[in-house]
């Protein structure tokens, strides 16, 4: 492996972007394929499929063996609101293998006592997201019901192309949210990406059940995302 290729690969990984190291096994020839790179033909299809599934493996094309080593950033969840549902969501996310962090400027909610072992930011979301920006491998769940806290990170998540954007609230609440986001300059299509009411429809009633419904919806969005097709197709493919 060329050191230059390793540097490129590590830089992509450090920036939380997906990349594939493509190696022709016989010759050792290799290339780093980034998220936005399109390749033609059967190899291109194999690369796009691998980028989507996140699965590494050997493919044989035209009598040649290629190894596709897929590096996908670990998915993470940013929950806005240190609320009861977030308390239930934290251990569920951990079980499913997703990093989770919680942002809530209300220090009465965001206490270590309520969220032992979970990354917690008792700050305004705008401030935290400036330090720790959202990306396409991040899911955002807005859970405070409070537009002062929820709206800004929702806008940021839609603009970034987070693989999942969900917001808690009844249809009526979401109707008002839709109007605010339109007024803030977002388009209908962008706003339609928000999962609201949040969570898969399993008639969830308790905070624990709602957390399960949210987690299931996030998993579905992550596993079905269309990374290699670019942000436009990805948006169209999401619920």
């Amino acid at each position: 492996m060329k050191l230059d290729n390793l540097r490129i690969l590590n830089a992509e990984r450090a920036r939380r972007r997906a990349a594939i190291l493509l190696t022709e096994l016989d010759s050792g020839a290799e290339r780093v394929i980034g998220e936005g790179d399109r390749e033609r033909g059967e190899l291109g299809e194999a690369l796009a499929g691998a980028m989507r599934s996140g699965k590494s493996g050997v493919v044989e094309l035209g009598g040649r063996q290629y190894f596709l080593n897929v590096h996908v950033p670990p998915p993470r969840i940013v929950a806005i609101g240190a609320v009861h549902i977030s308390q239930a969501l934290a251990p569920i996310a951990r079980t499913a293998g997703y990093d989770l962090e919680i942002i809530d400027p209300r220090t009465a909610f965001a206490t270590q006592e309520r969220f032992a072992g979970t990354t917690l930011h008792a700050e305004w979301p705008e401030l935290v997201l400036r330090q720790r920006p959202l990306d396409r491998y991040t899911a955002l769940a807005a859970l405070t019901h409070d537009p002062k806290i929820d709206d800004a990170p929702l806008v940021a998540a839609l603009k970034t192309g987070c693989f999942y954007v969900g917001a808690l609230g009844s249809r009526k609440t979401h109707g008002r949210r839709r109007e605010r986001l339109l007024a803030a300059g977002l388009g209908e299509a962008e706003i339609n990406r928000i999962a609201a009411p949040i969570g898969l429809d399993i008639a969830a009633a308790t905070p624990g059940e709602i957390a399960v419904a949210i987690m299931a919806q996030i998993i579905a969005a992550f596993r079905r995302r269309a990374v290699a097709a670019g942000p436009e197709a990805e948006r169209a493919a999401l619920p």
């Binding site: 492996m1 060329k2 050191l3 390793l6 190696t23 050997v58 080593n69 897929v70 920006p133």
Partner: protein, 110 residues
């Protein structure tokens, strides 16, 4: 830790750091597995010319052999494909106790 950093125990970051220090390095990668294998396809073991290593390609069953082969790969400058499994003749010496089979590609970093 910043979200933009690679984790502390990252084999590929280690390989880059070692190479930039001037150490001679090889990278071993699991490219195929059959049956039950302890580490998934894509897993890395990185080795330097003195036999220091980080990461894993199995649960510790074949790392010794991979390190020895990697030192040869560093010396020759030529990549090599290794296969391990209970069906191999080498199974007496180094094999996978779990009964699986793996193919490991070892390449020098240059």
């Amino acid at each position: 830790m910043s979200a933009n950093d690679l984790p502390a125990l990252d084999e590929l970051a280690t390989a880059q750091a070692w190479a930039e220090e001037g150490r001679k390095v090889a990278i071993a990668t699991v490219v195929e597995t059959w049956g039950s294998a302890p580490r998934p396809v894509g897993a890395h073991l990185v080795i330097d010319h003195d036999g220091h290593f980080e990461g894993s390609v199995s649960g510790g069953c074949v790392e010794g052999e991979v390190v020895a082969e990697a030192i040869e790969v560093i010396a020759s400058g030529k990549p090599k494909m290794l296969e391990f499994g209970v069906a191999d003749e080498t199974a007496w010496r180094v094999g996978l106790s779990c009964g699986g089979r793996i193919r490991v590609h070892v390449t020098p970093l240059d």
